[in-house]
Symmetry: C3
Subunit: 350 residues, 3 copies
């Protein structure tokens, strides 16, 4: 019984519209408040349940069972993240900016139920998954559940005292009996109302067949410096008519002023552990998402984000972001928007 | 404080309609995902809170306080199961088939708030309870809460190296100000949409007074073999007019191929603990429920279920069921149905 | 990780209308069922998450991070109680009566998100807070979140073997873009339906600016005897027109028949720890709330409550209350009410 440990995280934000921010509600927001357990069921089998109670709601996170084989590979059963996207697969405890990049939010799937198999060696690794619907989507599904397959491969050799990361992923999903697919994103910030999307579209037609997504990841770490870039695209597949293709990318650079390095393992980033009581990190990111194609006009979003992070421990940090947003070419007749947003976060986990 | 332990369970299913299964949604389903704590408050007093987050919903399970007396008897305060029905009272971690038998689902009450007193000796035991509404039913109750009383007695002598179990129960409930009572059940399987009932009825009249339920239980265990049979009936009590009586039964047989026995204690079944790394169990069940009486035509359901269970530990198992369903004589004008259903489960608890 | 402990509480009630109680639903009620964790994040920083699943619902309680400085003062970040009101700030595990006094329920704020700073010395202490909306209020807020400030000071010298407590608090809140404010309360008891308010009013006008609340607290402890009195008022601030002022007060006296004393620390009451297996306490409270002013007629409520509490441990007690309620001068045309109510509680926490 008690090889299980409690786990949890609290991410508390304050949103401040700095300029052209009439679309948003200033104030506090509880971004994440998770409680769960994690532990060994029997030798080589571990399990996890984690629920997010952010702002008094309920959303299920990892509900999973996992087997480790003698060669280090692992079989996953239950709900967890679809293997696509370096930014998506980095834990919310460890992402550099307060929100993930818009291309990641918009295209990479989050958690789904299914079966996965992964194997990560010294420099090469992969994870593949067969997945269905997400937990909590029961009421939204018509007829049979969507069914998809995903594959992500990573090549991450050490280079001197640094490391290179190259990743690629493909995801195909049949939507089965569903006739709706949608994409939208907030400007990489959630306001006190929980977030407002400025770009987005919904495709609603019986011609809808599924989607094909692919991604490319590149990262370079050397001491306190790291660089990260990611490209993601989604091709909405139709039985008849045009199959629109939407895509986005982001580039970012982090520098830890106090000299520490970001942790890295199994194809993803970890956090920073301060060596002298406190670590300071600065970072900048440019992200872009284009939701316009084949007559669909969801809009374009480009964000420049500047970040200052203060780590008191690997599990306790304070964050400040300023986000310069540029929204254009939305098909709904509303004009362009250029809000400037500030967000503060205090965050701990255990 | 820390005489309390965390507890939880995850039951993950995959539903596959094998034949005549157009009524159902193929796909994954999260049947249970519970988190809770259990422990000693002070000497002789223990408490429990457990919440089910299955598929992202919230439903309360045991919320209780319990006192153990020096003679081994116990007083229960809070919410827990009404003492009726061998199948209902067997934990969902330990039931042989993926779902309980239809007579049990349809007639036996699940958890209610109230007071109970139990005493189980070597071969004789009983539990009695005064109960009201269930947790979470607040909004469904009109006027005063329903009030009921239950009594279950068990005679379970050891016979050689085996055991006999004979049980009987009666439950009376006054519905007080309520004017609606309903009965329905799924075909002993939940699809990806959370489950669809093929038989059912609702009685809605101010003449409604309450219900009287009784049950008979019979089980026999001998080494790897166990037999189990249960009869349950409910008499809906009316101030005026006919008082319909609905009833159902099931019989089942389990055989553990690897030789282990099912655990048994305090009037109910436990699980199987593999002696050599892995236990394999086969089982068959026939169940029947008749919801037709006195002009009410809820329908009849007969299910034959074949099961194969693989236990890697007492708290980790994989299950496969095939269910041959026969639905007939429904009064709503819809015809008969004979779906064949497959369900797979992976399950752990701690 | 595992400097975190689980915590929780279960408060189970039975409501019985004794006289003139047609407004209420007799039966059981689950008043609180909380699960959470509390612990040290790193040295001098502690965190807490706690969620209430009472009756199957979900409501967030403390979600917070706290820093202790070397002088004993503390900085709070997240959601927790606004510092106003002795009765409100006494934990629900430790309040003498089954519900708090009506003036406390009606006027003192409960939990809000914000920043607070507190310092409590031997006899003098204070806590101040800047606060916004509560967790879970996302959907109820129009435009920018309300913003408030609170200050509470306490003077609590030891006098011989006893203690005096004098407290005062002020809270100002700007409602920003909100145009509604409401006040209502149950008769210091929750029925099986979760509670029914007999007095209340709602003010809905764009003239609404905010509110100013102030409170005075007085308590005296000497051995098994304690006296407690509290006055609270709220002035609803309007840009134009009358700014109504509502107010209420309560006085109460506790006597522990078995001789123990109520615990006290940091400006609030703790519980009673039985010295010989069981402590018995009797108490009486008179409370009054006046919701009539400036043409607003929410009604008046006066309650006399008699209590008998039995403590088996500091974290396990049974409570019985009889409440004589007097409701009058409601502006909605309904007449006066004088229900007499009985409530029983069993309660444990860990």
């Amino acid at each position: 019984s008690q090889d299980f440990d409690i786990r949890g995280r609290v991410h508390m934000d304050a949103f401040i519209g700095l300029n052209n921010a009439d679309d948003f509600q200033n104030g506090f927001n509880n971004r994440r408040a998770r409680l769960g357990v994690n532990g060994q069921v029997i030798e080589n089998w571990d399990g996890r349940i984690e629920v997010d109670f952010a702002d008094g709601g309920v959303s299920p996170n990892d509900f999973r069972l996992r087997r480790r084989f003698s060669d280090g590979s692992r079989l996953w059963i239950g709900q967890y993240k679809v293997p696509q996207g370096l930014n998506e697969l980095t834990s919310s405890n460890n992402i550099t900016f307060i929100e993930r990049a818009t291309n990641s939010n918009m295209i990479a799937d989050s958690r789904r139920m299914g079966l996965a198999y992964e194997r990560f060696g010294r420099a090469l690794g992969f994870k593949s998954m067969i997945f269905g619907r997400a937990l909590g989507q029961r009421g939204d599904i018509t007829g049979d559940m969507p069914l998809g397959g995903a594959f992500r491969g990573v090549f991450a050799p050490e280079i001197g005292s640094g490391r290179l990361h190259i990743g690629g992923s493909v995801v195909y999903e049949s939507l089965m009996d569903q006739t709706i697919i949608g994409f939208s994103d907030r400007p990489e910030a959630r306001d006190s109302g929980g977030g407002k999307s400025l770009i987005g579209l919904q495709i609603n037609t019986p011609d809808l067949e599924g989607s094909f997504k692919s991604g490319l990841e590149l990262a370079l770490m050397h001491g306190p410096l790291s660089l990260e870039a990611e490209y993601l695209m989604v091709n909405v597949l139709m039985d008849e008519g045009d199959s629109p293709l939407f895509h986005g990318w982001h580039v970012q650079s982090n520098y830890v002023l106090t000299g520490e390095s970001r942790a890295y393992s199994s194809g993803g980033f970890g956090t920073i552990t301060p060596q002298n009581g406190r670590a300071l990190e600065i970072a900048a990111r440019f992200s872009h998402m284009n939701l316009n194609d084949s007559g669909y006009m969801g809009g374009k979003q480009s964000n420049l984000t500047l970040a200052l992070n203060c780590y008191l421990a690997s599990n306790l940090r304070f964050m400040a972001n300023v986000i310069f947003v540029d929204i254009s070419t939305r098909g709904n007749g509303t004009g362009d928007r250029t809000p400037v947003i500030g967000v503060l976060r205090s965050q701990f986990h255990f």
